[in-house]
């Protein structure tokens, strides 16, 4: 009997050890629910085939992504080993101790050179220019534009446009042209509208949309070194940019007061708008005839230049970080070593991921792979981002509270809006001791 019990206990102990060992080899990556996460799951399946270590990409809708991630961080939970977090989380997640410092890893693999400069600056480094890195650039992304090629290439439309505006109808190279084209195609009586832009103020959508204008008009959100905002976010150029963004809103389809990526893709798939703003990561659905009846007639262009010729775009995309509370940090580090290999990055791009790997990104093969990859490649060298400080969410709330009533509600002037925003941001930075 005693031998039986001993045997049973030994068996149970062995089973427990095996379970622990198997669990140690299971990695969980947390990301938002969208196509790139599915592509990443396909990629990591290949990692499992190579190493036997299974990796699961767990997702949640975008609207919950930040809340769920930080709830887990705050609880010091080990549910996720890695997280593909938004660029603006870097400050909060690194100073909060939620991310593992990847500086040594970064330097060992020379990632500052291997990855595209903008992705290193915005997805990995915090504080800016500190040489401290918290993430490996994983999914590059930025805001671009899709448009209806058949509308643009219709001879009658081309002639009418030339007669009205004095130049040829083509994808806009400047914001002035963007406004003209939006106005030209805005025909509510025909259920045809000029443009679809971001207006959702529940997270960062509308602010990213406005940034597209502000950056290309040569303005800045503030001085990222000194945290001064007065004279930057409310500069003359920023005011003009905001006025024009509001003008674009007047050319959107009805009910466009809470629009983000789903609605902006629908503007094209449902034949509503001539042009639509969206992150490049959402463009694959526009080339799929199953989801877009106008797929053959959908074209893409980069965010146009502003009046001074400056051309920038709001940054999207994310870096992959190791969570401090993970029990599998060593295994996660091995995964990252695999992930940054050039052949893996190439495969990542083939699957549909937007690689941040500079060589892969600049290869002809990548740039010709889809109709929008060239625009994406061009854009990734011109991107700028929102504040990545720990209090970024408060800055975002203030921006939403100030910008939305002006753009959608027609309240006040652009100058009043941005002056108020500058005052709010200054008060927030003062509260956190960043300015006097």
């Amino acid at each position: 009997m005693k031998a039986k019990i001993t045997g049973l206990l030994a068996g149970a102990a062995m089973s427990a050890l095996c379970v622990t060992s198997a669990m140690a080899e299971d990695l969980v990556i947390f990301w938002a629910e969208w196509d790139p996460a599915n592509f990443l799951q396909e990629l990591v399946n290949e990692y499992e085939a190579e190493t036997g270590v299974s990796v699961t990409v767990e997702t949640t809708p975008w609207s919950d992504f930040q809340t769920k991630a930080f709830t887990e961080f705050n609880a010091r939970g080990s549910a996720y080993d890695m997280i593909v977090g938004d660029s603006q989380w870097l400050g909060a997640a690194s100073t909060g101790g939620h991310y593992v410092d990847l500086t040594d890893f970064f330097k060992k693999h020379n990632l500052g050179e291997v990855m595209a400069p903008a992705t290193v600056k915005y997805y990995a480094e915090y504080p800016g220019n500190s040489g401290t890195y918290w993430a490996v650039p994983a999914e590059g992304d930025a805001v671009g534009w899709s448009y209806r090629k058949d509308w643009f290439e219709d001879p009658a439309e081309m002639a009418a446009f030339k007669e009205k505006y004095g130049y040829d109808l083509a994808p806009p190279a400047t914001w002035d042209q963007l406004l003209d084209i939006a106005e030209f195609f805005h025909r509510p009586d025909e259920n045809r509208y000029g443009v679809a832009i971001y207006t959702d103020n529940s997270y960062d959508a509308m602010v990213m949309g406005v940034e597209n204008a502000i950056f290309s008009y040569g303005a800045e959100l503030g001085n990222f070194e000194t945290y001064e905002v007065d004279g930057y976010v409310n500069s003359e150029a920023a005011v003009k940019a905001l006025e024009d963004y509001k003008k674009l809103y007047s050319y959107t389809p009805p009910g466009w007061a809470k629009a983000f990526f789903v609605e902006n893709n629908q503007a094209i798939t449902e034949g509503l708008a001539a042009m639509s703003m969206n992150y490049f990561a959402f463009f694959p659905a526009l080339l799929n005839e199953a989801t877009n009846p106008h797929a053959a007639n959908t074209g893409f262009f980069a965010n146009p230049a502003g009046p001074t010729g400056a051309q920038h775009a709001a940054l999207g995309g994310q870096g992959i970080s190791i969570v401090s509370y993970s029990n599998n940090q060593e295994e996660a580090m091995k995964f990252l070593e695999w992930f940054i290999k050039p052949e893996v990055q190439k495969r990542w791009a083939e699957l549909g991921g937007y690689t941040a790997h500079a060589d892969t990104l600049s290869s002809e093969e990548f740039r010709q792979a889809t109709p929008y990859n060239e625009a994406f490649y061009q854009t990734m060298f011109k991107v700028k981002d929102f504040w990545a400080v720990p209090e970024f969410a408060e800055l975002l709330t203030a921006a939403n509270q100030r910008l939305y009533p002006f753009i959608v509600g027609d309240e006040g002037t652009a100058q009043e809006t941005l002056d108020a925003l500058a005052a709010d941001w200054h008060a927030t930075f003062k509260k956190y001791g960043r300015v006097e």
Partner: protein, 282 residues
């Protein structure tokens, strides 16, 4: 097993549950409300006294949220009482299929808030929404118009919760002794007089209970408004509180905010309860 043991067996788990999940978090968050704690950082909580309360009570955005919420509560609860009581009056008579009609009228309040929000978003859609089509309003933007969005949310709330008021009112109406109406009829009292001197005074206590419940709920409304509109003019305090606590992770500040809201709800409820007692005493 003694009576005392049985009593303890029933009461102790409930008390323990209340202490662990209600009282303890309540006191814990009260403590946080006097600190600068942020759950998203590893930094310790520093005592800041009444600073959070001062900041919140002097922040014009927060006062705007309170004003919006007050407007919403008044419109929504008034609408629910008028519609709900009106429906109860109609149903408090012998009509064919009364049971079926009552059941159908109760359906909205049995639906999930999120489902109602999503459906009404479609109904309000300026392009294909049935409301604009039915009223011939063209492409009127119910949820995007800053002057209308809040009332559109309140209208949805009225649709959803009027049946609740109707149900309670119906119970009150059916409890009014029939002989009072008969006596009034013998005295040749008009319907106006009968309503204001017999029906309303007798039903008022139960309608007041419905108003208390609905006011408390309307004050806390989150999901319906969150789903329906992005308009800052429709940002109720519960939405602002959610953003402060779970998007901005201002834990100390949001705890103070929650306490301010709690005190307000308790104060309003107390006013109602006092009034209810007065009505009962009459």
């Amino acid at each position: 097993m003694s009576d005392l043991t049985i009593r303890n067996l029933f009461i102790i788990p409930t008390i323990a549950f209340l202490i662990i999940f209600n009282i303890f978090p309540l006191l814990y968050s009260l403590g946080y409300s006097f600190t600068d704690f942020r759950a998203s950082t590893n930094a310790p909580a520093n005592f800041v006294g009444l600073q959070n309360y001062h900041y919140l009570l002097t922040d014009p955005f927060i006062w705007r949220n309170f004003t919006i919420t007050a407007k919403y509560v008044i419109v929504s609860v008034t609408g629910q009482v008028i519609v709900g009581f009106g429906m109860a009056m109609l149903l408090n008579r012998d009509i064919p299929l009364k049971g079926l009609i009552t059941t159908l009228l109760l359906l909205p309040m049995m639906l999930s808030m999120a489902v109602v929000g999503l459906f009404w978003k479609l109904l309000y859609d300026p392009s294909f929404g049935i409301i604009n089509y039915g009223l011939g309003l063209g492409k009127f933007e119910w949820l995007a118009d800053p002057d209308v969005a809040l009332y559109a949310v309140a209208l949805t709330d009225i649709w959803m919760w009027s049946p609740f008021v109707m149900l309670l009112s119906l119970a009150g109406l059916s409890a009014v002794p029939k002989h009072l109406y008969e006596a009034a009829e013998i005295d040749r009292a008009g319907s106006f007089y009968t309503f204001f001197r017999i029906t309303l005074p007798l039903v008022a206590p139960i309608v007041m209970i419905a108003i208390i419940f609905r006011t408390m709920e309307a004050f806390k409304t989150f999901d319906l408004a969150y789903i329906l509109s992005s308009q800052p003019t429709a940002e109720l305090i519960a939405i602002r509180l959610y953003k402060m606590a779970f998007l901005e992770w201002q834990t100390g500040m949001s705890s103070a905010f929650a306490y301010i809201v709690l005190v307000m709800v308790v104060a309003i409820t107390n006013i109602y309860v006092k009034y209810l007692n007065k009505v009962k005493e009459r």
